[in-house]
Symmetry: D2
Subunit: 137 residues, 4 copies
Protein backbone atom coordinates (compact mmCIF):
# COMPACT_ATOMS: atom_id res chain seq x y z
CA UNK A 1 0.00 0.00 0.00
CA UNK A 2 1.24 3.45 -0.90
CA UNK A 3 1.36 6.20 1.73
CA UNK A 4 1.67 9.86 0.87
CA UNK A 5 3.36 12.52 2.97
CA UNK A 6 4.67 16.04 2.50
CA UNK A 7 8.28 17.19 2.37
CA UNK A 8 9.48 20.80 2.73
CA UNK A 9 12.63 21.80 0.94
CA UNK A 10 14.46 25.06 0.25
CA UNK A 11 13.61 26.18 -3.28
CA UNK A 12 17.22 26.33 -4.50
CA UNK A 13 17.95 22.90 -3.08
CA UNK A 14 14.86 21.51 -4.78
CA UNK A 15 15.93 23.00 -8.12
CA UNK A 16 19.37 21.37 -7.88
CA UNK A 17 17.75 18.07 -6.95
CA UNK A 18 15.34 18.27 -9.90
CA UNK A 19 18.25 18.87 -12.28
CA UNK A 20 20.15 15.95 -10.81
CA UNK A 21 17.31 13.45 -11.04
CA UNK A 22 16.33 14.62 -14.53
CA UNK A 23 19.90 13.96 -15.65
CA UNK A 24 19.73 10.52 -14.09
CA UNK A 25 16.50 9.79 -15.95
CA UNK A 26 13.95 9.90 -13.14
CA UNK A 27 10.48 11.01 -14.16
CA UNK A 28 9.30 12.08 -10.72
CA UNK A 29 10.65 13.00 -7.30
CA UNK A 30 8.89 10.22 -5.38
CA UNK A 31 10.74 7.60 -7.38
CA UNK A 32 14.11 9.28 -6.79
CA UNK A 33 13.49 9.71 -3.07
CA UNK A 34 12.29 6.10 -2.78
CA UNK A 35 15.60 4.99 -4.29
CA UNK A 36 17.63 7.14 -1.90
CA UNK A 37 15.69 5.68 1.02
CA UNK A 38 15.99 2.08 -0.12
CA UNK A 39 19.71 2.46 -0.71
CA UNK A 40 20.16 3.85 2.80
CA UNK A 41 18.14 1.02 4.34
CA UNK A 42 20.02 -1.67 2.42
CA UNK A 43 23.40 -0.26 3.51
CA UNK A 44 22.17 -0.47 7.14
CA UNK A 45 20.93 -4.01 6.66
CA UNK A 46 24.37 -5.06 5.43
CA UNK A 47 26.11 -3.63 8.46
CA UNK A 48 24.20 -6.10 10.64
CA UNK A 49 25.70 -9.06 8.78
CA UNK A 50 23.14 -11.77 9.46
CA UNK A 51 20.36 -10.72 7.09
CA UNK A 52 19.22 -13.10 4.33
CA UNK A 53 20.27 -11.21 1.28
CA UNK A 54 21.78 -11.28 -2.20
CA UNK A 55 24.84 -9.81 -3.85
CA UNK A 56 26.99 -9.89 -6.92
CA UNK A 57 30.71 -10.19 -7.35
CA UNK A 58 32.57 -9.51 -10.57
CA UNK A 59 35.97 -10.88 -11.53
CA UNK A 60 38.27 -9.63 -14.28
CA UNK A 61 40.99 -12.03 -15.41
CA UNK A 62 43.14 -13.15 -18.32
CA UNK A 63 41.21 -15.95 -20.01
CA UNK A 64 44.41 -17.51 -21.37
CA UNK A 65 45.09 -18.74 -17.89
CA UNK A 66 43.08 -21.94 -18.26
CA UNK A 67 44.01 -23.10 -14.79
CA UNK A 68 42.34 -19.99 -13.36
CA UNK A 69 39.01 -20.60 -15.10
CA UNK A 70 39.07 -24.11 -13.76
CA UNK A 71 39.96 -22.93 -10.26
CA UNK A 72 37.18 -20.31 -10.27
CA UNK A 73 34.64 -22.85 -11.48
CA UNK A 74 35.78 -25.26 -8.80
CA UNK A 75 35.53 -22.65 -6.03
CA UNK A 76 32.08 -21.67 -7.22
CA UNK A 77 30.85 -25.28 -7.24
CA UNK A 78 31.96 -25.73 -3.65
CA UNK A 79 29.32 -23.12 -2.78
CA UNK A 80 26.70 -24.18 -5.32
CA UNK A 81 23.92 -23.66 -2.78
CA UNK A 82 24.87 -19.98 -2.41
CA UNK A 83 25.81 -19.25 -6.00
CA UNK A 84 22.75 -18.73 -8.13
CA UNK A 85 24.23 -18.05 -11.54
CA UNK A 86 27.21 -16.61 -13.32
CA UNK A 87 27.82 -14.89 -16.64
CA UNK A 88 31.00 -14.65 -18.67
CA UNK A 89 31.85 -11.76 -21.00
CA UNK A 90 34.88 -11.05 -23.22
CA UNK A 91 36.28 -7.57 -22.56
CA UNK A 92 39.15 -7.67 -25.08
CA UNK A 93 41.46 -10.30 -26.63
CA UNK A 94 43.02 -10.99 -23.27
CA UNK A 95 40.57 -10.20 -20.54
CA UNK A 96 37.22 -11.51 -19.56
CA UNK A 97 34.76 -10.52 -16.88
CA UNK A 98 32.71 -12.95 -14.88
CA UNK A 99 29.70 -11.81 -12.86
CA UNK A 100 28.44 -14.13 -10.13
CA UNK A 101 25.13 -13.73 -8.29
CA UNK A 102 25.00 -15.04 -4.70
CA UNK A 103 22.18 -15.55 -2.22
CA UNK A 104 22.38 -16.28 1.50
CA UNK A 105 23.45 -14.76 4.81
CA UNK A 106 25.27 -11.46 4.36
CA UNK A 107 28.54 -12.44 6.02
CA UNK A 108 28.58 -15.84 4.32
CA UNK A 109 28.14 -14.67 0.75
CA UNK A 110 30.58 -11.82 1.28
CA UNK A 111 33.19 -14.31 2.40
CA UNK A 112 32.57 -16.55 -0.63
CA UNK A 113 32.88 -13.50 -2.87
CA UNK A 114 36.17 -12.56 -1.23
CA UNK A 115 37.57 -16.03 -1.82
CA UNK A 116 36.79 -15.62 -5.53
CA UNK A 117 38.33 -12.14 -5.76
CA UNK A 118 41.46 -13.31 -3.95
CA UNK A 119 42.06 -16.21 -6.34
CA UNK A 120 45.55 -15.88 -7.83
CA UNK A 121 45.29 -14.36 -11.30
CA UNK A 122 42.09 -12.39 -10.75
CA UNK A 123 43.07 -8.86 -11.78
CA UNK A 124 40.15 -6.93 -10.36
CA UNK A 125 37.02 -7.79 -8.50
CA UNK A 126 34.56 -6.38 -6.08
CA UNK A 127 31.51 -7.52 -4.15
CA UNK A 128 28.34 -5.46 -3.88
CA UNK A 129 25.46 -6.37 -1.65
CA UNK A 130 21.83 -5.80 -2.48
CA UNK A 131 18.86 -7.24 -0.64
CA UNK A 132 16.18 -9.81 -1.20
CA UNK A 133 12.71 -10.06 0.24
CA UNK A 134 11.54 -7.71 2.97
CA UNK A 135 14.24 -5.05 2.69
CA UNK A 136 13.45 -4.12 -0.88
CA UNK A 137 9.69 -3.97 -0.81
Amino acid sequence: MLKRFGVSLEETLLESFDTLINDAGYTNRSEAIRDLIRDTLIKREWLKGDAQTAGIVFLVFDHHRMDLSRKLTHRQHKHHDRIVASMHVHLDEHHCLEVVVLKGRATEIQSIAESLVSTKGVLHGRFIGTAAGKAII
Copy 2:
Protein backbone atom coordinates in the same frame (compact mmCIF):
# COMPACT_ATOMS: atom_id res chain seq x y z
CA MET B 1 57.45 -8.74 -16.97
CA LEU B 2 57.49 -9.14 -13.20
CA LYS B 3 59.52 -6.74 -11.07
CA ARG B 4 60.47 -7.47 -7.49
CA PHE B 5 60.96 -4.92 -4.74
CA GLY B 6 61.17 -4.90 -0.96
CA VAL B 7 58.62 -3.54 1.49
CA SER B 8 59.27 -2.76 5.18
CA LEU B 9 56.39 -3.10 7.58
CA GLU B 10 55.97 -3.03 11.36
CA GLU B 11 55.78 -6.62 12.58
CA THR B 12 52.39 -6.25 14.30
CA LEU B 13 50.92 -4.58 11.22
CA LEU B 14 52.24 -7.38 9.04
CA GLU B 15 50.69 -10.00 11.33
CA SER B 16 47.27 -8.32 11.15
CA PHE B 17 47.60 -8.09 7.38
CA ASP B 18 48.52 -11.77 7.10
CA THR B 19 45.46 -12.74 9.14
CA LEU B 20 43.25 -10.55 6.98
CA ILE B 21 44.48 -11.91 3.65
CA ASN B 22 44.42 -15.50 4.88
CA ASP B 23 40.78 -15.01 5.85
CA ALA B 24 40.10 -13.61 2.40
CA GLY B 25 41.73 -16.63 0.80
CA TYR B 26 44.96 -15.14 -0.52
CA THR B 27 47.90 -17.55 -0.70
CA ASN B 28 50.63 -14.91 -0.75
CA ARG B 29 51.23 -11.25 0.09
CA SER B 30 52.26 -10.18 -3.41
CA GLU B 31 48.87 -11.19 -4.78
CA ALA B 32 47.02 -9.28 -2.05
CA ILE B 33 49.15 -6.16 -2.48
CA ARG B 34 48.76 -6.33 -6.26
CA ASP B 35 44.98 -6.31 -5.75
CA LEU B 36 45.12 -3.33 -3.39
CA ILE B 37 47.24 -1.44 -5.93
CA ARG B 38 45.05 -2.30 -8.92
CA ASP B 39 41.93 -1.30 -7.05
CA THR B 40 43.48 2.07 -6.14
CA LEU B 41 44.57 2.68 -9.75
CA ILE B 42 41.17 1.75 -11.16
CA LYS B 43 39.40 4.12 -8.75
CA ARG B 44 41.69 6.93 -9.97
CA GLU B 45 41.09 6.05 -13.60
CA TRP B 46 37.36 6.37 -13.03
CA LEU B 47 37.67 9.83 -11.56
CA LYS B 48 39.07 11.05 -14.89
CA GLY B 49 35.91 10.05 -16.72
CA ASP B 50 37.12 9.61 -20.27
CA ALA B 51 38.93 6.27 -20.02
CA GLN B 52 37.76 3.34 -22.16
CA THR B 53 36.54 0.99 -19.55
CA ALA B 54 33.92 -1.53 -18.44
CA GLY B 55 31.41 -1.75 -15.66
CA ILE B 56 28.41 -3.61 -14.35
CA VAL B 57 25.07 -2.42 -13.12
CA PHE B 58 22.58 -4.56 -11.25
CA LEU B 59 18.85 -3.97 -11.01
CA VAL B 60 16.42 -5.51 -8.53
CA PHE B 61 12.74 -5.34 -9.46
CA ASP B 62 9.37 -7.03 -9.16
CA HIS B 63 9.09 -9.34 -12.16
CA HIS B 64 5.29 -9.18 -12.09
CA ARG B 65 5.56 -5.71 -13.52
CA MET B 66 5.73 -6.85 -17.13
CA ASP B 67 5.85 -3.29 -18.38
CA LEU B 68 9.06 -2.77 -16.47
CA SER B 69 10.85 -5.75 -18.04
CA ARG B 70 9.84 -4.43 -21.41
CA LYS B 71 10.99 -0.92 -20.58
CA LEU B 72 14.35 -2.14 -19.29
CA THR B 73 14.89 -4.28 -22.37
CA HIS B 74 13.98 -1.32 -24.55
CA ARG B 75 16.38 1.04 -22.75
CA GLN B 76 19.15 -1.54 -23.03
CA HIS B 77 18.60 -2.00 -26.76
CA LYS B 78 18.90 1.72 -27.32
CA HIS B 79 22.50 1.35 -26.12
CA HIS B 80 23.21 -2.04 -27.68
CA ASP B 81 26.70 -0.92 -28.73
CA ARG B 82 27.63 -0.25 -25.09
CA ILE B 83 25.77 -3.11 -23.46
CA VAL B 84 27.66 -6.35 -23.83
CA ALA B 85 25.40 -8.81 -22.08
CA SER B 86 22.89 -9.19 -19.32
CA MET B 87 21.81 -11.98 -16.97
CA HIS B 88 18.53 -12.47 -15.19
CA VAL B 89 18.15 -14.27 -11.86
CA HIS B 90 15.11 -15.01 -9.67
CA LEU B 91 15.67 -13.91 -6.08
CA ASP B 92 12.31 -14.96 -4.64
CA GLU B 93 8.71 -15.33 -5.83
CA HIS B 94 8.45 -11.61 -6.43
CA HIS B 95 11.85 -10.20 -7.11
CA CYS B 96 14.42 -10.71 -9.77
CA LEU B 97 17.88 -9.34 -10.28
CA GLU B 98 19.33 -8.36 -13.60
CA VAL B 99 23.05 -7.82 -14.08
CA VAL B 100 24.17 -5.84 -17.11
CA VAL B 101 27.76 -5.57 -18.36
CA LEU B 102 28.72 -2.37 -20.17
CA LYS B 103 31.77 -1.31 -22.15
CA GLY B 104 32.76 2.17 -23.36
CA ARG B 105 33.81 5.60 -22.11
CA ALA B 106 33.53 5.91 -18.33
CA THR B 107 31.09 8.82 -18.21
CA GLU B 108 28.98 7.34 -21.00
CA ILE B 109 28.42 3.91 -19.50
CA GLN B 110 27.84 5.37 -16.05
CA SER B 111 25.09 7.54 -17.47
CA ILE B 112 23.47 4.56 -19.26
CA ALA B 113 23.64 2.62 -16.00
CA GLU B 114 21.99 5.48 -14.13
CA SER B 115 19.15 5.61 -16.63
CA LEU B 116 18.51 1.89 -15.96
CA VAL B 117 18.63 2.28 -12.16
CA SER B 118 16.27 5.28 -12.31
CA THR B 119 13.62 3.40 -14.31
CA LYS B 120 10.34 3.54 -12.40
CA GLY B 121 9.84 0.25 -10.58
CA VAL B 122 13.52 -0.64 -10.12
CA LEU B 123 13.80 -1.23 -6.37
CA HIS B 124 17.55 -1.22 -5.98
CA GLY B 125 20.47 -0.85 -8.29
CA ARG B 126 24.02 0.29 -8.38
CA PHE B 127 26.77 0.76 -10.91
CA ILE B 128 30.35 -0.38 -10.33
CA GLY B 129 33.20 0.43 -12.65
CA THR B 130 36.06 -1.88 -13.41
CA ALA B 131 38.61 -1.42 -16.18
CA ALA B 132 39.49 -3.01 -19.47
CA GLY B 133 42.81 -3.16 -21.28
CA LYS B 134 45.81 -1.21 -20.02
CA ALA B 135 44.60 -0.37 -16.54
CA ILE B 136 44.25 -3.95 -15.38
CA ILE B 137 47.44 -5.46 -16.73
Copy 3:
Protein backbone atom coordinates in the same frame (compact mmCIF):
# COMPACT_ATOMS: atom_id res chain seq x y z
CA MET C 1 12.02 29.99 0.54
CA LEU C 2 10.58 26.62 1.49
CA LYS C 3 8.68 24.59 -1.10
CA ARG C 4 6.39 21.72 -0.18
CA PHE C 5 5.70 18.65 -2.31
CA GLY C 6 4.23 15.19 -1.81
CA VAL C 7 6.06 11.87 -1.81
CA SER C 8 4.42 8.45 -2.17
CA LEU C 9 6.09 5.51 -0.50
CA GLU C 10 5.19 1.87 0.16
CA GLU C 11 3.92 1.61 3.74
CA THR C 12 6.50 -1.00 4.85
CA LEU C 13 9.33 1.00 3.33
CA LEU C 14 8.12 4.09 5.12
CA GLU C 15 7.99 2.22 8.44
CA SER C 16 11.60 1.04 8.03
CA PHE C 17 12.65 4.56 7.12
CA ASP C 18 10.90 6.01 10.17
CA THR C 19 12.68 3.54 12.43
CA LEU C 20 16.01 4.37 10.84
CA ILE C 21 15.69 8.13 11.17
CA ASN C 22 14.32 7.90 14.69
CA ASP C 23 17.39 5.89 15.65
CA ALA C 24 19.57 8.53 14.05
CA GLY C 25 17.81 11.25 16.03
CA TYR C 26 15.78 12.99 13.33
CA THR C 27 12.55 14.56 14.52
CA ASN C 28 10.81 14.68 11.14
CA ARG C 29 11.03 13.13 7.68
CA SER C 30 11.59 16.38 5.78
CA GLU C 31 14.82 16.97 7.68
CA ALA C 32 16.07 13.43 6.97
CA ILE C 33 15.17 13.62 3.28
CA ARG C 34 16.79 17.05 2.98
CA ASP C 35 20.00 15.55 4.35
CA LEU C 36 19.88 12.63 1.90
CA ILE C 37 19.38 15.06 -0.96
CA ARG C 38 22.13 17.45 0.12
CA ASP C 39 24.57 14.60 0.55
CA THR C 40 23.80 13.34 -2.96
CA LEU C 41 24.22 16.81 -4.45
CA ILE C 42 27.51 17.42 -2.65
CA LYS C 43 28.93 14.08 -3.86
CA ARG C 44 28.05 15.15 -7.44
CA GLU C 45 29.62 18.55 -6.98
CA TRP C 46 32.86 16.92 -5.90
CA LEU C 47 33.02 14.74 -8.99
CA LYS C 48 33.26 17.90 -11.11
CA GLY C 49 36.45 18.97 -9.37
CA ASP C 50 36.45 22.74 -9.93
CA ALA C 51 33.83 23.85 -7.42
CA GLN C 52 34.79 26.28 -4.64
CA THR C 53 34.34 24.11 -1.62
CA ALA C 54 35.61 23.02 1.77
CA GLY C 55 36.88 19.79 3.27
CA ILE C 56 38.61 18.25 6.22
CA VAL C 57 41.51 15.88 6.46
CA PHE C 58 42.50 14.00 9.58
CA LEU C 59 45.93 12.60 10.36
CA VAL C 60 46.84 10.03 13.00
CA PHE C 61 50.49 9.83 13.96
CA ASP C 62 52.94 9.06 16.75
CA HIS C 63 53.57 12.34 18.53
CA HIS C 64 56.99 11.18 19.71
CA ARG C 65 58.20 11.72 16.19
CA MET C 66 58.97 15.40 16.62
CA ASP C 67 60.31 15.70 13.08
CA LEU C 68 56.90 14.66 11.78
CA SER C 69 55.00 17.36 13.69
CA ARG C 70 57.43 19.87 12.31
CA LYS C 71 57.10 18.52 8.78
CA LEU C 72 53.30 18.57 8.96
CA THR C 73 53.28 22.11 10.27
CA HIS C 74 55.66 23.12 7.50
CA ARG C 75 53.55 21.52 4.78
CA GLN C 76 50.46 23.19 6.18
CA HIS C 77 52.09 26.60 6.22
CA LYS C 78 53.04 26.26 2.57
CA HIS C 79 49.30 26.25 1.86
CA HIS C 80 48.27 28.76 4.52
CA ASP C 81 45.81 30.40 2.10
CA ARG C 82 43.93 27.12 1.72
CA ILE C 83 44.23 25.84 5.27
CA VAL C 84 41.77 27.52 7.56
CA ALA C 85 42.52 25.91 10.89
CA SER C 86 43.71 22.75 12.54
CA MET C 87 43.11 21.00 15.84
CA HIS C 88 45.30 18.56 17.71
CA VAL C 89 44.00 15.82 20.01
CA HIS C 90 45.75 13.15 22.09
CA LEU C 91 44.33 9.69 21.40
CA ASP C 92 46.54 7.69 23.77
CA GLU C 93 50.09 7.89 25.16
CA HIS C 94 51.56 7.43 21.73
CA HIS C 95 49.13 8.66 19.14
CA CYS C 96 47.61 11.96 18.31
CA LEU C 97 45.05 13.04 15.77
CA GLU C 98 45.18 16.27 13.85
CA VAL C 99 42.15 17.59 11.99
CA VAL C 100 42.73 20.20 9.32
CA VAL C 101 40.00 22.28 7.65
CA LEU C 102 40.65 23.40 4.08
CA LYS C 103 38.88 25.81 1.73
CA GLY C 104 39.37 26.30 -2.00
CA ARG C 105 38.95 24.55 -5.35
CA ALA C 106 37.97 20.91 -4.95
CA THR C 107 40.93 19.35 -6.80
CA GLU C 108 43.39 21.72 -5.14
CA ILE C 109 42.42 21.09 -1.53
CA GLN C 110 42.16 17.35 -2.17
CA SER C 111 45.73 17.37 -3.44
CA ILE C 112 46.97 19.33 -0.40
CA ALA C 113 45.17 16.86 1.84
CA GLU C 114 46.80 13.94 0.05
CA SER C 115 50.24 15.45 0.53
CA LEU C 116 49.57 15.58 4.28
CA VAL C 117 48.26 12.00 4.46
CA SER C 118 51.25 10.72 2.49
CA THR C 119 53.78 12.33 4.81
CA LYS C 120 56.12 9.62 6.13
CA GLY C 121 55.02 8.63 9.62
CA VAL C 122 51.33 9.44 9.24
CA LEU C 123 49.62 6.21 10.27
CA HIS C 124 46.11 6.88 9.02
CA GLY C 125 44.39 9.72 7.31
CA ARG C 126 41.55 10.50 5.04
CA PHE C 127 40.09 13.49 3.26
CA ILE C 128 36.36 14.23 3.17
CA GLY C 129 34.83 16.95 1.10
CA THR C 130 31.88 19.03 2.12
CA ALA C 131 30.68 22.17 0.41
CA ALA C 132 30.56 25.88 1.05
CA GLY C 133 28.17 28.50 -0.23
CA LYS C 134 25.59 27.66 -2.85
CA ALA C 135 25.70 23.88 -2.69
CA ILE C 136 24.63 23.66 0.92
CA ILE C 137 21.82 26.17 1.01
Copy 4:
Protein backbone atom coordinates in the same frame (compact mmCIF):
# COMPACT_ATOMS: atom_id res chain seq x y z
CA MET D 1 60.13 -3.85 14.85
CA LEU D 2 60.28 -3.54 11.09
CA LYS D 3 60.03 -6.65 8.91
CA ARG D 4 61.07 -6.72 5.28
CA PHE D 5 59.55 -8.88 2.55
CA GLY D 6 59.54 -8.99 -1.24
CA VAL D 7 56.64 -8.15 -3.55
CA SER D 8 56.44 -9.08 -7.25
CA LEU D 9 54.48 -6.82 -9.54
CA GLU D 10 53.99 -6.50 -13.29
CA GLU D 11 56.30 -3.75 -14.58
CA THR D 12 53.51 -1.64 -16.14
CA LEU D 13 51.42 -1.89 -12.99
CA LEU D 14 54.41 -0.82 -10.90
CA GLU D 15 55.00 2.19 -13.18
CA SER D 16 51.39 3.34 -12.82
CA PHE D 17 51.61 2.88 -9.06
CA ASP D 18 54.84 4.89 -8.87
CA THR D 19 53.21 7.74 -10.79
CA LEU D 20 50.19 7.65 -8.50
CA ILE D 21 52.14 7.72 -5.25
CA ASN D 22 54.52 10.40 -6.54
CA ASP D 23 51.53 12.58 -7.33
CA ALA D 24 50.21 11.98 -3.84
CA GLY D 25 53.53 13.00 -2.35
CA TYR D 26 54.89 9.65 -1.12
CA THR D 27 58.66 9.36 -1.11
CA ASN D 28 58.84 5.57 -1.17
CA ARG D 29 56.71 2.54 -1.98
CA SER D 30 56.85 0.99 1.49
CA GLU D 31 55.15 4.03 2.98
CA ALA D 32 52.39 3.98 0.36
CA ILE D 33 51.80 0.25 0.75
CA ARG D 34 51.77 0.57 4.55
CA ASP D 35 49.02 3.19 4.20
CA LEU D 36 46.96 0.96 1.88
CA ILE D 37 47.30 -1.90 4.35
CA ARG D 38 46.42 0.19 7.41
CA ASP D 39 43.40 1.65 5.69
CA THR D 40 42.16 -1.83 4.78
CA LEU D 41 42.67 -3.09 8.35
CA ILE D 42 40.91 -0.10 9.90
CA LYS D 43 37.89 -0.54 7.59
CA ARG D 44 37.66 -4.17 8.79
CA GLU D 45 37.97 -3.18 12.42
CA TRP D 46 35.03 -0.80 12.00
CA LEU D 47 32.82 -3.50 10.56
CA LYS D 48 33.10 -5.39 13.85
CA GLY D 49 31.58 -2.50 15.80
CA ASP D 50 32.90 -3.13 19.29
CA ALA D 51 36.49 -1.98 18.90
CA GLN D 52 37.80 0.87 21.06
CA THR D 53 38.43 3.48 18.48
CA ALA D 54 38.27 7.14 17.47
CA GLY D 55 36.50 9.12 14.82
CA ILE D 56 35.58 12.57 13.66
CA VAL D 57 32.31 14.09 12.62
CA PHE D 58 31.94 17.41 10.84
CA LEU D 59 28.83 19.58 10.80
CA VAL D 60 28.06 22.44 8.42
CA PHE D 61 25.35 24.86 9.53
CA ASP D 62 24.10 28.43 9.39
CA HIS D 63 25.63 30.20 12.37
CA HIS D 64 22.81 32.72 12.49
CA ARG D 65 20.66 30.02 13.95
CA MET D 66 21.72 30.60 17.54
CA ASP D 67 19.37 27.95 18.84
CA LEU D 68 21.24 25.38 16.75
CA SER D 69 24.67 26.24 18.19
CA ARG D 70 23.17 25.91 21.63
CA LYS D 71 21.49 22.60 20.77
CA LEU D 72 24.71 21.18 19.30
CA THR D 73 26.71 22.24 22.35
CA HIS D 74 24.09 20.69 24.60
CA ARG D 75 24.09 17.39 22.71
CA GLN D 76 27.87 17.31 22.82
CA HIS D 77 27.97 17.91 26.54
CA LYS D 78 25.62 15.00 27.15
CA HIS D 79 28.41 12.80 25.78
CA HIS D 80 31.35 14.70 27.26
CA ASP D 81 33.09 11.45 28.14
CA ARG D 82 33.15 10.42 24.47
CA ILE D 83 33.74 13.81 22.91
CA VAL D 84 37.37 14.81 23.14
CA ALA D 85 37.38 18.20 21.46
CA SER D 86 35.73 20.30 18.83
CA MET D 87 36.79 23.12 16.51
CA HIS D 88 34.71 25.79 14.88
CA VAL D 89 35.53 27.43 11.55
CA HIS D 90 33.79 30.14 9.50
CA LEU D 91 33.25 29.04 5.90
CA ASP D 92 31.52 32.18 4.63
CA GLU D 93 29.24 34.93 5.98
CA HIS D 94 26.49 32.43 6.63
CA HIS D 95 27.99 29.02 7.18
CA CYS D 96 30.28 27.53 9.69
CA LEU D 97 31.85 24.13 10.05
CA GLU D 98 32.35 22.33 13.31
CA VAL D 99 34.65 19.33 13.61
CA VAL D 100 34.22 17.05 16.61
CA VAL D 101 36.66 14.32 17.66
CA LEU D 102 35.20 11.31 19.47
CA LYS D 103 36.74 8.35 21.30
CA GLY D 104 35.07 5.15 22.48
CA ARG D 105 33.38 1.99 21.22
CA ALA D 106 32.83 2.08 17.46
CA THR D 107 29.04 1.70 17.50
CA GLU D 108 28.65 4.14 20.36
CA ILE D 109 30.59 7.04 18.88
CA GLN D 110 29.01 6.49 15.48
CA SER D 111 25.59 6.80 17.07
CA ILE D 112 26.57 10.02 18.90
CA ALA D 113 27.90 11.40 15.61
CA GLU D 114 24.64 10.56 13.88
CA SER D 115 22.63 12.36 16.51
CA LEU D 116 24.71 15.48 15.82
CA VAL D 117 24.36 15.22 12.04
CA SER D 118 20.62 14.71 12.32
CA THR D 119 20.09 17.83 14.43
CA LYS D 120 17.56 20.07 12.69
CA GLY D 121 19.42 22.81 10.85
CA VAL D 122 22.66 20.92 10.20
CA LEU D 123 23.11 21.24 6.44
CA HIS D 124 25.77 18.63 5.87
CA GLY D 125 27.69 16.27 8.04
CA ARG D 126 29.47 13.00 7.95
CA PHE D 127 31.23 10.67 10.36
CA ILE D 128 34.55 9.00 9.58
CA GLY D 129 36.14 6.39 11.75
CA THR D 130 39.81 6.01 12.34
CA ALA D 131 41.45 3.87 14.99
CA ALA D 132 43.35 4.30 18.20
CA GLY D 133 45.90 2.06 19.85
CA LYS D 134 46.63 -1.41 18.50
CA ALA D 135 45.04 -1.08 15.07
CA ILE D 136 47.24 1.75 13.88
CA ILE D 137 50.63 0.60 15.06
